[in-house]
Amino acid sequence: MNLTNCLILSFILLSIGILGVITRRNVIGILLSIEIMLNAANINFIAFARFSAHDSTAGAIFPVFVMAVSACEMAVALAIIIAMYRNKGHLDSRRLGELHG
């Protein structure tokens, strides 16, 4: 268990998240994939704080801010999804162009 292992784990998770963002067609699926990518970023923060930072407590605090921002993002995104479903009746990312105007 060293820093390289953690970085590789986080890269694998990032790739899985990008794969999900590209292949999912349901908008909620895309949001779940974004959560996986944020999780990968948090693992990166914690790994650097654990293995190489001088100030490890600051590295333990930063993921908390990432979590708060991702909670805000999910709240607004799911509100948009509910409004979109109510008005359009579908959640297809290929027809998101209908949203403008």
Partner: protein, 177 residues
Amino acid sequence: MHDLLFYGLAGLLVCFSTLVVMAPNLVHAAIALVASFFMTAGLYLLFEMEFVAVAQIMVYVGGIVIFVIITILLTTRLGENHLLPPIRQRLWGIIIAATLLCMLLFGTLTSLLPIGLAERPLPADTGSLATVGSRLLQPTENGFIVPFEMISLLLLIALIGAVVLARKDSANRGEPS
């Protein structure tokens, strides 16, 4: 022992994350996301960052995923997903993700960063609730009081925005018919 635990947690984390991305049913994907968040919390505990581990479980599992599952149940019938991607889109996704992964791995393994650092002993209560909490609210230059307050403001704005976006249009409902 720590190594074994790390590899086990990492393998399970990758498996559950793949399941989140690939599962045809969205409710199954959300439940796999819960499992992957628990694995991540286990990793944080392994790294002796207790506060982040508990925050991970409380914020993600207790808050965000519940919200996502409720939205899935509201908008689809038990998560049934009729919007399956065409095979070409899936192929392109795999190609792009694999290329990115190869580039990142190549860059990491050949870089001059001080990586490959082995485990080192942390000070006793680096990630504990008391240390993190007092650091978070310190008004000195080492503290995080300003971002903390900004986050509270951001949460309030997001809350109001979500309520405004998701409510029904009251313009044509309030009129007497």
